[in-house]
């Protein structure tokens, strides 16, 4: 039976709609293709390859040999792995809250400054642009026990010569301090962008209701900044768990492994100890730690944002 004109037009309409949707999807995939390809080649495949390598010995200079669960067993038995995880978390606990508090203070100050704000923002952001090696050199001269500026000031005030990087108790906090100095500009500008996007009418209303600056900060600014903090906490955790540059340049994991981090141990295993299987296993451990912490933070914060 032949289709009536109205039936024909409905079928044709449906077909056209489906074909338009398909074209739209294909266009979207075409635009996504480069980044998808990048993701697969440089991120997904290496992770899969790492997982494969974690069950092998060698695999870089010599052909891979199946090692079963040996590398995983070694990972859990190696006291240095636990120390590295502990050191990395310790560093994150010092560095992230410190840089957030300082970043917020700087952002609030920058928000209120009217004259020269642009120049100040550039100056504050400047350390973030420096290479880790340059930052390490600057701070080596700042904290040097004999002629470091910071040490000269401390010695003048207290008579004590601080051995910042040579003392296991102060080495990691010192590295955290250097990283905070380097990262402060980034976080300050990020928080400033969040502050500038807050709705002013709420502040005017609160002011009319008699809320002072402190009340406005705790009752308006902090709650409204939650989405920014949500991003910041997760991003900062992911970045800081991979601490490597400063440790590599300033202490090489010492003294007494007090600054040995997971990323540092991965590098050492892969390139100094020529133990790619173990290095790959450690890399996977880092992936697990990062994903777990990120998921936990995401779950905890999503409920509140």
């Amino acid at each position: 039976m032949a289709a009536t004109p109205s039936q024909f037009s409905a079928i044709e309409h449906q077909t056209r709609r489906a074909s338009a949707a398909l074209r739209r999807d294909l266009t979207a995939y075409a635009f996504l293709a480069p980044i998808l390809l990048f993701f697969i080649v440089f991120m997904a495949l290496p992770v899969v390859w790492l997982f494969y390598l974690s069950f092998q010995n060698d695999g870089i200079l010599a052909p891979a040999r199946f090692a079963g669960l040996d590398n995983w067993r070694r990972t859990f038995a190696d006291r240095l792995v636990l120390k590295c995880i502990g050191n990395t978390l310790y560093y994150c606990l010092i560095a992230i809250p410190t840089v957030f508090v300082l970043g917020m203070i700087v952002a609030l100050s920058l928000e209120t400054i009217r004259r020269g704000a642009a120049i100040l923002r550039v100056i504050i952001y400047f350390p973030t642009l420096q290479a880790s090696l340059i930052v390490a050199l600057i701070w080596t001269f700042m904290i040097h026990p004999d002629f470091g500026l910071l040490n000269i000031v401390i010695r003048a005030a207290t008579g004590v010569k601080m051995n910042f990087l040579g003392n296991p108790a102060s080495a990691m906090p010192t590295i955290a301090m250097i990283e905070v100095w380097k990262g402060l500009g980034f976080w300050a500008i990020l928080f400033l962008s969040g502050l500038l996007a807050l709705p002013l009418d709420l502040y005017h209303a609160a002011e009319l209701d008699g809320a002072g600056p402190v009340r406005r900060f705790f009752s308006l600014t902090l709650p409204l900044m939650k989405p920014t903090f949500y991003f910041a906490v997760i991003f900062a955790t992911i970045v800081n768990l991979q601490l490597f540059d400063s440790v590599f340049v300033l202490t090489d994991g010492g003294p007494v492994n007090s600054t040995a981090t997971i990323a540092w141990y991965i590098y050492r295993s892969l390139f100094t100890f020529s133990d790619p299987g173990f290095g790959a296993t450690l890399s996977f451990v880092l992936v697990i730690v990062v994903v777990s912490l990120t998921a936990l933070q995401s779950w905890l914060m999503r409920a509140r944002v």
Partner: protein, 424 residues
């Protein structure tokens, strides 16, 4: 050529003639190189022993080119602190540098993984016998394993002590400090005043601190591994370890970790350290910019089992993946020849392992002559185990901990032994 005449040639004929005229010189050049024996390109990689390393290598390469005009040699460097990472990346790429200068700390790991060429056939070539015999047997023993010969030994670095004679004389210990560990401690205490320290020892793993630690352990008859390399060989080193701990506890050294090796050398040059653990290339710097005091080179006091000096050695190896191994061998023979290696060693103040040129070297540098003649025969190097660098890097935090006063010599040696046994 007129347009009319040009029309007489077909385009194909023109291109053939043009191409031929371009190609002929190249073909002739290639043939003449082949007639000379070797052709192609070589890449050599080496850690720098001087800021002028590239200039010194260019001299060697220029001499090589005179006899091998068809071979182009490109020189590149790795930095010592990251040599493993850079060399591993090169090997993993599949096209590593053809000729590699490798130290005894790292080459065994590469040899074990099959990325170095076994050079036994070349080294044992009767035509090269006189040259082979000119290299000291102890150096050859450091360059081979049961599976092959992995390079030609060329250079050695001795880790000597520098002493500030003015400080030692002023304290009245110049003639006695080297007699025993107790005398060294007394001298260190006598010369430590204000911001001047009696002794300095490297403490950081990134400075390869173990080079300063080794002679004391070796003098006690101990070593990283036992004789058959089945376990650690540190037993017996407890007292030596305790002595080094005591030096730090007595505060006659800069605080642990406070000053890196270069910083310690700077303090020595400024007259702030009496007994400084250094390395022979630093002699050049002291000769070029003499410090305001008299100085000399020395080695550590004798221990209960002997009197050794720490040294490590470099060999020239060929990458197994090299596509031009014959040219690489020719270049190594040239580099290791008496005139070339002698000139280079003199330029950078390193020791040679050739016995036939020792007397001709360092004529104007009495300290270097002393080191070559008195120190080198006492040298005890590292055991070339594939994991030797891993072992040293992993035990060093224990040494640091003990230098900080947290472990006794006995505890430190026991902990280090456990780590080594796990790795063997």
């Amino acid at each position: 050529m007129s347009a009319k005449k040009m029309r007489g040639y077909s385009r194909r004929r023109f291109l053939n003639l043009f191409g031929g005229s371009i190609a002929v010189p190249f073909v002739l050049g290639a043939l003449s190189s082949r007639a000379a024996g070797l052709a192609g390109k070589l890449v050599m990689i080496k850690g720098p022993h001087s800021a002028d390393e590239a200039k010194f290598e260019a001299e060697i390469i220029a001499d090589f080119k005179k006899g091998n005009p068809g071979v182009d040699v490109e020189f590149t460097t790795y930095d010592w602190a990251n040599m493993n990472a850079q060399l591993t990346a090169g090997f993993a790429s599949g096209s590593p540098p053809d000729v590699q200068y490798l130290v005894d700390l790292i080459y065994p790991a590469y040899a074990e993984r099959g990325v170095l060429q076994d050079m036994t056939t070349w080294v044992n070539d009767p035509a090269w016998k006189s040259e082979r015999d000119a290299i000291a047997p102890f150096a050859w023993s450091l360059a081979k394993s049961s599976k092959g010969i992995w390079g030609v030994p060329v250079l050695g670095a001795v880790y000597n002590i520098f002493v500030n004679l003015d400080l030692l004389n002023a304290a009245g210990v110049a003639g006695t400090w080297q007699k025993s560990y107790a005398d060294m401690m007394a001298a260190a205490k006598a010369t430590t005043k204000g911001d001047t320290f009696g002794v300095s020892l490297r403490t950081r793993v990134s400075d390869f601190a173990f080079w300063d630690w080794f002679p004391y352990i070796h003098n006690a008859g101990a070593d990283i591994l036992n004789k058959d390399w089945s376990g650690h060989g540190l037993a017996g080193g407890e007292d030596a370890m305790q002595f080094l701990i005591d030096l730090h506890k007595a505060k006659v050294t800069p605080p642990v970790g406070s000053v890196d090796w270069q910083g310690q050398f700077d303090l020595f040059k400024a007259g702030k350290i009496a007994i400084y653990h250094g390395e022979t290339p630093q002699i050049n710097e002291l000769l070029a910019s003499p410090p305001p005091f008299k100085w000399d080179v020395a080695y550590a006091p004798p221990g209960p089992k002997g009197q050794t000096v720490m040294g490590n050695f470099g060999i020239l190896s060929i990458a197994a993946a090299s596509k031009n191994k014959d040219a690489a061998w020719a270049f190594i023979k040239h580099w290791a020849s008496g005139p070339e290696v002698g000139r280079f060693a003199g330029e950078v103040n390193l020791q040679v392992v050739r016995t036939d040129i020792v007397n001709q070297l360092y004529g104007d540098k009495p300290q270097m002559q002393k080191i070559q003649k008195e120190f080198v025969p006492r040298v005890k190097g590292v055991q070339p185990h594939p994991k030797i660098l891993t072992m040293l890097q992993q035990i060093w935090p224990v040494a640091e901990d003990s230098y900080l006063g947290n472990l006794t010599g006995n505890d430190a040696i026991a902990q280090m032994g456990e780590i080594i046994n796990r790795l063997v």
